[in-house]
């Protein structure tokens, strides 16, 4: 009887082999591509950056949300509905954990190898760390007038919804992923024409500069994540 049972058990385990055990995982290198120091945020303003750095952490890659939707027929008996709030974000299917202080004007730097599960991706998110602080310094030229600036901000916010369109086939994974930053967009919300301190130097405490700089840095279009085929 024991032999019979072992045979049954073996058959059951054979069934397991025939089934997909889970999602395939691949490692894909991620690199950061810096920006040009010459920035044109618009509105007649041009900026020459001397220094720009930000500290970010934990790149997470998300699957598309579940598109499940249903029509409900009228009924005498009410029916329960799903718990709200859990259908909008897709699950995290890939990630690269770590903390990096990025020189936004320097050379491309490798960040490491991300772990990606097979399947579709739609978005990414990235944490901006408060320490070391974000720094931006240089000269903005407004209508021909140079305005030097030196900005430091301790931002602790998450950048969510970074577009990341990829369907990962483990047989043909991308060679790499490139994270890049658009400083034209990041600095486009700052009011470069107004110097509330009237001291000739724009700082983080001048008016709404702190808020607009933060808004621009964590704004979704500021960041791009793309596969390199």
């Amino acid at each position: 009887m024991a032999l019979l049972m072992r045979a049954v058990q073996g058959a059951a385990l054979s069934l397991a082999v025939a089934c997909a055990p889970g999602r395939t995982v691949v490692q894909v290198p991620v690199a950061f591509a810096p920006s040009s120091p010459d920035v044109v945020p618009g509105d007649g303003v041009s900026i020459a950056l001397d220094d720009a750095s930000v500290t970010v952490a934990h790149l997470r890659l998300e699957s598309p949300p579940d598109p499940t939707a249903r029509w409900r027929l009228p009924s005498l008996i009410s029916t329960a509905v799903a718990h709200p709030g859990h259908d909008f974000a897709g699950g995290v299917s890939g990630e690269l954990l770590g903390t990096w202080t990025l020189d936004l004007l320097g050379d491309p730097v490798p960040l490491g190898s991300a772990t990606l599960q097979d399947g579709a991706y739609a978005t990414a998110r990235l944490q901006v760390e408060a320490s070391p602080v974000l720094t931006m310094s240089g000269t903005a030229t407004v209508d021909g007038d140079p305005i030097p600036f030196g900005l430091e901000a301790a931002i602790a916010q998450e950048i969510t919804g970074i577009p990341f369109d990829l369907t990962l086939d483990p047989e043909t994974p991308p060679e790499a992923l490139t994270l890049s930053v658009d400083l034209d967009h990041a600095l486009s919300f700052v009011d470069w024409r107004t110097d509330p301190g009237a001291d000739g130097l724009l700082t983080i405490d001048d008016g709404a500069v702190g808020h607009t700089l933060t808004f621009g840095v964590v704004s979704t279009p500021t960041w791009t994540l793309e596969p390199v085929e």
Binding site: C19, A20, T68, S78, H86
Partner: protein
Amino acid sequence: MRSACRCWGCYPSGPEEDRATPRRPLVGWQGPGLRGRGLAGAVIAAWAWAWACLGTAWAEPFEDGPADDAVVVVAADASDPVGGRHLDRAAVEATPGRTADELLRAMPGIHLSAHGGRGKAYQYFLRGFDAVHGGDLAVSLEGVPLNEVSNVHAHGYLDLQLIPTVLVRSMDLLPGPARGGAGDFAVAGRADLGLGLDQGGGVLYGAVGSDRSVLATVAWRPEHAAPGTFVVVEGDVGGGVGTARGWRQARIGAGIEGDVGDARVRAWVLGQHGAFDSPGVLREDDVASGDVGFYDAYPGSGGGRSTRVLGAVQAFGGSERLAWRATAWGGWRALSLQQNFTGWYEDAVNGDGTVQDHRAWTAGAQGQLGWSPHPVVGLRAGLSARLDGVHHQEDGVTPDGTVWTEGEPLAARQADVGAWVVLPLDPTPWLHLEPAVRADVLLVDPDDDAVAWAPVVAPRLGVTLFEGAVASGHLAYGRGFRSPDARGASGGGRLPVAISDGIEAGVRASPWRWLALRVLGFATFVSDEIVFDHVAARFLATGATRRVGVDGGVSFRPVDAMRIDADLTWSDGRYTGSGDPIPYAPRVLGSVGLYVERLALPSMNVTFGFRTRLLGPRPLPEGYVAQPNAVVDLTAGVEIRSWMLTLDVDNLLATRWRDGEFVYASAWDPTAPRSDLSARHLTAGAPFALRLGVGWRF
């Protein structure tokens, strides 16, 4: 006799624990104060003894039959569903299983997962349903509902630790669509347990197990008294195999049954108190890397304490054409569960542990009537009312059990008033019809909110062709429902109710007396589905689902006392909207068993049960598939004159099987960066363990 020694006197005691003080490590959790409650225990024991003595004097010499016949006449279902199974006491004894919960494994198409240790309710899977902790499986004891409404851990929480297995006199296991008067939680199926001591006299039983367990049972039924007259005291202590698997359980039961005029009257009360560790889950990658062993547990994995008292007074009687039954019940419940399934994922400082405290009372009554005015038409009808009061709270705790954040308490009362009518019709000798309808009004009255309510109308129909012939055909449609959880009631008004519409069609055949076959197909459509959500690490309702499947079985009985049963159930459950498979629910479940039921040999009776359970692959979230398993359990007993020798073996082949697998993100190292990637987690299935017992009848 399968239960064993659970000695009240040797049950360890401990001080009452304060919520604000650190809880002791859960390994070796001690019951909160049987010493402190020793006087109460002694009073209860004395009362129970007196009760039984009264029963001796009251009960007429019992002849098995009349009382149960009356019950059958007024039962909510007249004919069993084709996939149903009835086990009498001899069959129960031949069924492997240490607790009343585990005996439910005799139901075709069911899987029980124990991710909470020996003391917490199992997680039930039935015919493609993830019934969570009982939300889709209605279980009753002598008709008294056992599912707990709005339990803090899960709505419909089904904990059978209350019932000593020695008192399980019968089991009706009825998977499939709701029929007749089936009420709340009868979504995937239902079961009813009969309560009583099958044999007169006393039994003293003790057993020790390789899993560091000791059991003791003292049971007594006066000679010539009815099975409903009994006293049982039981103690069960064990350390388990591996880490954080200890338990302590004490159970007590007393019942009395006799005639009052033309009516048979019985009353019974059961009490249980237990404390237990919970090993929780392990990450598969941690097991693979050797960071944790297969039967280990993470620190702060949890545990709990459970206390429950349930009692009922029942009367039934009538004549050949008119029978009635009335039941009133009441009970009290306290449950405390500490758990952590995600480590430090949500909170890297305090951890994600929670403690759930639940206090509840329940009371209810039901009356049933069966009338057979004419051979062609009959009537069965019933009324029921159930009222529950719950108070619960969930707090955040650190791994040592210290409460660091308090949750919002919930206090509410919940009511279910229902009525049902069944019209059995036999228009021809070969056709039997059972149209039925049940209507309920469900009420939820939170302390701090308006009263909310919901109506339910549940039509049912059973059709049987050629009943009693060599082959009979069966068709059934039934609507089941699950009442709303009080936590979802806010703002008053109409409440959502989960409903299921199920159909099944099958054939049962018995070409020879020793062979019975069944095959059926089923489809079930549910308005709402509860799954374990890895984002919140808890159960959530996620939408409409449907299931289709096939169930088949063969029962071979070469002699009266021996049977070989083989069951196989395949089901495919999917979300209606997306077509995605319902996670966690097994697609294939099977069992093959050899059962010997009190086989009379010269100078001895032999009981034997040898069962292999086959658990097929289960779909998991994100494309994962759980491993299939095959597990063999055994029970055996020899009764020679006044002596009994028993052997129970869990997992005879010592398979390292997984009775639960879950996919979600967790973080068990608070010093490492938190990964959001989903990972496979497992709960270890019962390891190999054997238990030897000796009993003496007096």
